[in-house]
Symmetry: C2
Subunit: 423 residues, 2 copies
């Protein structure tokens, strides 16, 4: 086992005990100092980022990845503003809930406590370094950060600023609370995943390969998610013009993210009126379609460049681009069946005026977020009222859907008695 | 991959979709039929258990294990009564919570849904087969049961009765909802742990070796727990005679279970008065002590047979027997330090009249259950008001401490709008 990893983990675990009892005010003061320090060191950070960018360009990174990697003063100011926003979020730690006095007089309640040490494994985007730091510290957790090698200089500069922020006099959060794995050896990820005595939760943020690697190799609980094959079903009673706007929003507002729409299912009664209109409108936005045989037939003669017959894998693909699957289903039950077979249980919805159909859809579709008459793009911590998010979980344990500060905590049972004994 | 395991898992997953929408009344009717059927088949079940017992005796199983394995009509009647008790527990499925209308008018709430498919891996005790079946079905989950080879005939007979109960006309739970891995090949446990596409949660119920095997090999989230090195700290203000009764209860009421007491920590101010009395009283109950040097010295001349100097591992041992560790600590903070270093974060408590000390202890000790003036033996689903328990979790994710029906569920976000789009 690599001793660097063991040292980092041991330091984080030790810091976690101290951090767990730091007050909300002291945590906010620390976050304030960190935000200040990042801004003070912005030239250093941008220079490091520039060096990352140059190397990434030379090694032929895709324009999309280069864009994720790139920082400038404006982007950095947004990162700092997001961090300051965490100050305003309520601190979940210490919350007492489900109080009860048992028949024998024992007083029982649950009390919210930090998870302890979070390890976050991510790629490219240096903003994750600051986002995770803010959410982890505010919820009383230590963070072990493992970014990609392409952004290592940026991350070193950012974590340097974070830790110098924590070195200010009077700051109660130990600097060991934020740890960067600054060696980019890939085997270190495997080593991290074995550190069950020190790390309480692993959050991979990246593609399916990273998630699968973590599930397979981790002895620590892993939050998997962030992969969405999302559906909207246009029921026969949908308000078609407005349904079209919802679909357009879900598809094109930000096509590269997990809650963007992948497949539209359409009731046959409205398909002839709706599908040609949908294709006409969205192809003007650059959307191309993968149509099942029935909808393809319906489109005969119309915009042949934008529409292709769906291939065998097309309904099992997360597009992350301006491609949209299109299928006519025989009705509500077939829509539910299609979603059950092809969805990743991220975000799926129905567009309908029929409340019974809506209720049946909500009961039968077991996705992290189920929508009635709204865009799938709302599956997001900020949009759904959490203030921020550390991940979107598509697993079933612990937390499902957007995870905010509260989802970075657990609870303990507190039991108070009068020298009670068990009979 | 073993096709038996794949078949079992596929059948369970398919049944889970149907079971998830079965009403509370229909689930209760099914449980009633199962309870009836077990009682109808009691001669068959007891005969199968007798055959297991005979083979276990011949193969030299310990008396403790033989006792766990053994069923008789009285024990079976208790098992059936426990199952009927599950009828009375509230059904968590469908509960809507945290409703909110967002500023943009979106109506959001969470809705409780079953986890899906639970795999439970356990040893000896055939009562687990029925307990888990009842709790899984009531919470809308399918169960894959993998008992030990020593109890395979009993488990086949019990699951046979369960499934014949489900075959009754009008029963809405599919019989595939309860699956027994009836091949005792140990490699099948490994195979089960790979079935992430079918199984949602793994609950090992057994020793540390089984838990470790599951954490290491599972691609599925594992609930670990059930291992308790439990402490009580006798503060200087404790009511000593009553503290002694709490310690006695925590140690001797059922010494073989995880919430039984392992170590007593004593404040030096009360040690001379308390420790000799404790040893005198509990040694009469057959308790033997492993004393640290200071408490050993205090006991010089007293009952030397019952007291031995503590060895280097004694404070890191879950005794599961009538042995009790004994240590004088310098006060509250050293007690907290000792617990932090040696506890398994299961159940730890303080005995004190000082409310500030109690509050400091509760804040600083991060165990699944933290006690003030009560026996650690209360860490139990029935005792803490859950009605029943499927496991006691000592991990931090999803659920901590006793897990009842609600802890066998997750939630989905339901978002209802008026053709809302994201700006």
């Amino acid at each position: 086992m690599n001793t660097i990893i063991e040292q980092i983990c041991y330091q984080a675990k030790t810091a976690a005990r101290r951090l767990a009892v730091v007050s909300t005010m002291d945590k906010n003061t620390a976050l304030q100092r960190i935000a200040d320090q990042i801004w003070v060191e912005r030239q250093l950070i941008l220079a490091a980022n520039q060096a990352d960018l140059e190397e990434a360009q030379n090694s032929g990174l895709s324009p999309a990845l280069l864009d994720r990697l790139m920082l400038n003063e404006k982007r950095l100011s947004h990162i700092v503003a997001d961090l300051r926003h965490v100050l305003d979020l309520p601190d979940p730690v210490g919350e007492a809930f489900e109080p009860e006095t048992l028949p024998n007089g024992l007083r029982v309640h649950k009390q919210r406590v930090p998870l302890g040490v979070l390890a976050v494994i991510y790629e490219a985007r240096p903003n994750v370094t600051v986002d995770v730091t803010g959410l982890a510290l505010k919820s009383g957790n230590c963070a072990i950060l493992r970014g990609g090698s392409e952004t290592i200089r940026s991350n070193r500069a950012l974590v340097g600023a974070v830790r110098r922020g924590l070195e200010n006099p009077g700051i109660k959060i130990p600097i060991e609370a934020v740890q960067l794995v600054s060696d980019t050896d890939r085997h270190l990820v495997y080593d991290l995943l074995q550190m069950e005595q020190f790390i309480d939760m692993v959050i991979p943020r990246g593609g399916a390969g990273l998630h699968d690697f973590c599930r397979k190799n981790s002895r620590i609980p892993v939050i998997t998610g962030g992969i969405g094959i999302c559906h909207l079903f246009v029921d026969e009673t949908a308000d078609l013009p407005r349904a079209l706007e919802v679909i357009r929003n879900a598809k094109i507002q930000r096509p590269t993210v997990c809650n963007a729409l992948d497949t539209v299912l359409v009731h046959p009664a409205v398909a002839p009126a709706f599908i040609p209109e949908l294709v006409k409108r969205l192809s003007a936005d650059g959307v191309t379609f993968r149509a099942d045989p029935r909808s393809f037939q319906l489109l005969e003669g119309q915009e042949s460049e934008a529409v292709r017959p769906a291939g065998s894998q097309d309904f099992d693909t997360e597009w992350l681009s301006l491609v949209l699957g299109l299928r006519i289903v025989d009705g509500l039950e077939e829509a539910i069946e299609h979603i059950s077979a092809h969805s990743t249980a991220h975000s799926d919805g129905i567009l309908t005026a029929n409340t019974e159909h809506a209720a049946r859809f909500v009961a039968a579709v077991d996705s992290a977020a189920v929508y009635v008459n709204a865009s799938t793009r709302f599956t997001d911590g900020s949009q759904l009222g959490l203030g921020a998010e550390v991940a979107i979980s598509t697993q079933r344990l612990h937390a499902r859907g957007p995870m905010g500060l509260r989802e970075l905590t657990t609870y303990k049972w507190v039991v108070e008695g009068d020298y009670h004994i068990r009979a």
